[in-house]
Amino acid sequence: MLTLLLLLFPLVASLVVLASGNKLAAKLALLFAVVELGLTGYGLSVFLLSGPELFTVFQEWITDPKISLNLGLDGLSMLMVLLTNFLLPVIILTSFNRVIDNAKAYFSLILMMQFALLGVFMANDGLLYYIFWELALIPIYFIALNWGGPNRVPVTLKFFIYTLAGSLFMLFGFIALYHLNPGKSFNITELYSMVISKENQAWLFWMFFVAFAIKIPIIPFHTWQADTYKESPTQGTMLLSGIMLKMGTYSLLRWLLPVFPEGVAMWTPLIMGLCIAGIVYASIIAIMQKDLKRVLAYSSVAHVGLISAGIFTLNITGLEGSVVQMLSHGVVVVGLFFAADIIYHRTNTFEIDKLGGIRTAAPQFNTLFLIIVLASVGLPLTNSFIGEFLLLLGVFQYNYIAAGVGGLTIILSAVYMFRMFQRVMLGKTNEVTVNFADLHWNEKVVLWILVIVIIAAGIYPQPILAIAEPALRIILDNAVLN
């Protein structure tokens, strides 16, 4: 019951916000998102006290093909739901003190997006999962299309078609699985226990992997990403990078590794190569960027490259690292894009060369931004440190050369993040930044919340690991060939 409430509340909220007025929309959306977060907190306490069984929902839906309303929350899903519902009120709060036309449609779409994302993380039936996966694309497309930057039309269309192409291959994969499954269903437990021949796994692996790799994105499927991040409105970029990208990495864990163990074993060296190469490649591109938002976009590619590499190590350290890093990346990247939005709001530019000296004008902003940048680099005592450490340890257990090359991410990310920070924040003020006002109340609240979470999770990450581990063990048991 609680699962259904958690899932459907954002949908109802979305409709209510759509029916409300433009002036009220932002406040109403924030209220609903906070209530949803409260529900999640209650859900988490129930989860910790009495385990995941209480959260299972099973209801027959379509008889042919057999699709059921099969929802559940294990440790992994719970953490993703927590991430989504924590970030949503924060993202909505970032839009306060900004002018947004047709606000009721905007916030309604954001809440609709939350509904679809929660569905993706909760679904335990293949086709139900697929429907939510597709559904998540529609609101974010319209958010980017209607409220995006000047070049948004071709960019968002590319994004839409690119991701839809991936999804259709996944649909093909699901249809094939359905026909191969003697029980003729999409139920996740049946898919886990199904025997699929090695030849079939070899190609079915790619049907799913391409869909996920586009969403994450892993090179060479990343070409839609930087432009889309740049052209989307700030809240859209936050949704894309903070949560939607985690749909891909989550799906690798949930739907790829345990279903196709032989396929994974066969292709892991290649995928690992792609991930590691992606880290170095994206980092180097990030160093070269002149645009603030694009630096952050490419840094995101580099970070998720490491997360994906951790997933394909197939050892518990790598998997735990990937989950921790998914959460911390979500929090950090939202902070970074918000900082970029604050700068843009006051200076009207994302060009790094035009900025400088903001520290003098806005000391409080400077401090908070610095902490988030340090978290992004993976400094100890921030949440990303735990994640990156576990990931690199996991990759090292898999192959020490891969870990050596992948470890460059620590140095390279320091190069591009500090280079960016130095040019934007330090130095002398110029005519663009001289009147830089310090933070508004909502900006303060958002940045402080993020910073507190970053440090708290960095000092005491144990609860996250404890929640994730049992679920990851089950996945790993199915994913590793005996």
Binding site: T63, I131, L157, I161, A165, L168, I175, H179
Partner: protein, 458 residues
């Protein structure tokens, strides 16, 4: 059988209404009459009855597809109330002819004899030739009527020749007799195959499958928009019903001979339809090519006869027809207000008429096959049938071409939401159009979320 008779009577009533000077009530009467006929048709469910020496046979297949055809016609007639408001003098002729189109369609869905197949196609086509050219003072309408007539009669020639050859070999027009002949004959004369080939050409022409599709964009563009809607939905649905009936009863034992041919045509139709649609700037042509592409997907259902793809075919037809009618219900007032049928006529509709723009967006998303609309599950069912019959390569082509399809549906959506508005044009949506569009979209959403009742029919 009763359905066909009652529908014909309704057509005659519409014609007589002219004499009795009852033009004002003609459309409500037609809609109510169709609703009554629909109810009568549904009561035939579950029975199989042969009529007139087994020329026509009503069974579950004909009831289901017939009901769909009646609903489609009813919606189109509802739209015509406003469409023909300036042509009150001809309204009874138009209504009668549209209803006779439905009669042809109903014959095509219940025939069990080749002669009735021919008659059905002719009743359907003759009515459409007239309607395509019904804008007497518009040269493009005349062109459309003449083009359709010339090409269509050519195809009818093929059809007749094919039927004659098959009759020559098997000695019967009856579908089941042909099937028995195929099952029992030790060697089948090559003339029979030639006959099947000609029959296939004629039917592929009527469903506008590539390479027999060249007539359809021109005819769709030239015809009055309402008739285009009728051709894009009713004709496509009943022709596929007839196609399926022919192959599942008469040619069930033919096997590979037609399969590879249809597979080739399906692949070509999907690729040509989608690729050509990309370049269209005229909305009617765009919908024509989208219809061609959908014919390609429907052909996958014809290929899957051995696993009984009836429900997949029915679901797909319903999803396609609902979305297309909704699209036309939004498009026709836009065409009329702006006097243009180009994509640019839709510029800024999202700001001016957010509700109807949302309806069109949802209809297009359904056509593109995006959940939770019926178009998604429709694609799923058809693809799934093709998969269980082992058409992997064809399926990959289908998937790639449906990715292309998304692009041109989005051209319209982008025009509505991102282009600046032309303030001078004021689009007014009559209430019937709003009702029809919302009805179709709502039904498509319900079908997409809860397909059980439809998919369990067969």
């Amino acid at each position: 059988m009763n359905t066909i008779i009652y529908t014909s009577v309704l057509g005659f009533i519409c014609m007589v209404a002219e004499i009795l000077n009852l033009r004002k009530v003609i459309i409500p009467v037609a809609v109510i009459g169709l609703a009554a006929i629909l109810a009568l048709t549904i009561t035939d469910w579950g029975t199989t009855v042969a009529h007139y020496n087994d020329m026509v046979r009503t069974d579950n297949f004909s009831v289901a597809f017939g009901s769909l055809a009646i609903i489609i016609t009813g919606l189109v007639i509802a739209l015509s109330s406003d469409y023909y408001k300036n042509e009150q003098n001809h309204i009874s002729d138009y209504m009668a002819i549209i209803i006779f189109t439905l009669v042809g369609g109903l014959v095509l869905l219940s025939y069990s004899n080749m002669a009735m197949l021919f008659l059905g196609i002719e009743i359907l086509s003759l009515s459409l030739y007239v309607m395509a050219g019904s804008r007497k003072y518009d040269t493009s309408s005349n062109e459309a009527g003449l083009k359709y007539f010339l090409m269509g009669s050519f195809a009818s020639g093929f059809l007749l020749f094919g039927i004659a050859l098959i009759y020559g070999v098997t000695g019967s027009f009856h579908l089941e007799a042909i099937n028995t002949y195929l099952a029992s004959a030790t060697t089948v004369s090559p003339l029979f195959y030639l006959g099947v080939l000609m029959l296939l050409v004629a039917i592929l022409f009527k469903v506008s499958a590539a390479p027999f599709h060249f007539w359809s964009p021109d005819v769709y563009e030239g015809s009055p928009a309402l008739i285009t809607a009728l051709m894009a939905t009713l004709v496509k649905v009943v022709m596929f019903g007839a196609f399926y009936r022919l192959f599942s009863t008469a040619f069930g034992n033919l096997g590979d001979y037609t399969n590879w041919l249809i597979a080739l045509v399906a692949a070509l139709t999907m690729v040509v339809g989608n690729l050509t649609a990309l370049q269209q700037v005229n909305v009617k042509r765009l919908l024509a090519f989208s219809g061609i592409a959908h014919a390609g997907y429907l052909l996958l259902g014809i290929l899957s006869i051995s696993t009984d793809a009836t429900s997949a075919l029915f679901y797909y037809s319903a999803a396609y027809a609902l979305a297309t009618i909704a699209a036309f219900a939004v498009a026709i007032p836009v065409f009329q207000a702006s006097g243009s049928e180009l994509v640019s006529a839709f510029n800024g509709l999202g700001k001016r008429k957010p509700f109807m723009a949302a309806m069109l967006t949802m209809a297009l998303l359904s056509l593109a096959g995006i959940p939770p609309f019926a178009g998604f599950l429709a694609k799923y069912y058809i693809f799934s049938e093709a998969m269980s019959n082992g058409f992997f390569a064809l399926l990959l082509i289908a998937i790639v071409s449906s990715i292309i399809g998304v692009y041109y549906y989005f051209k319209l959506i982008l025009a509505m939401y991102t282009e600046p508005t032309d303030e001078a044009v004021v689009v007014k949506f009559p209430w019937v159009y709003i009702v029809v569009a919302s009805f179709c979209v709502l039904l498509s959403l319900i079908l997409g979320l809860y397909p059980n009742p439809v998919i369990q029919l067969f």
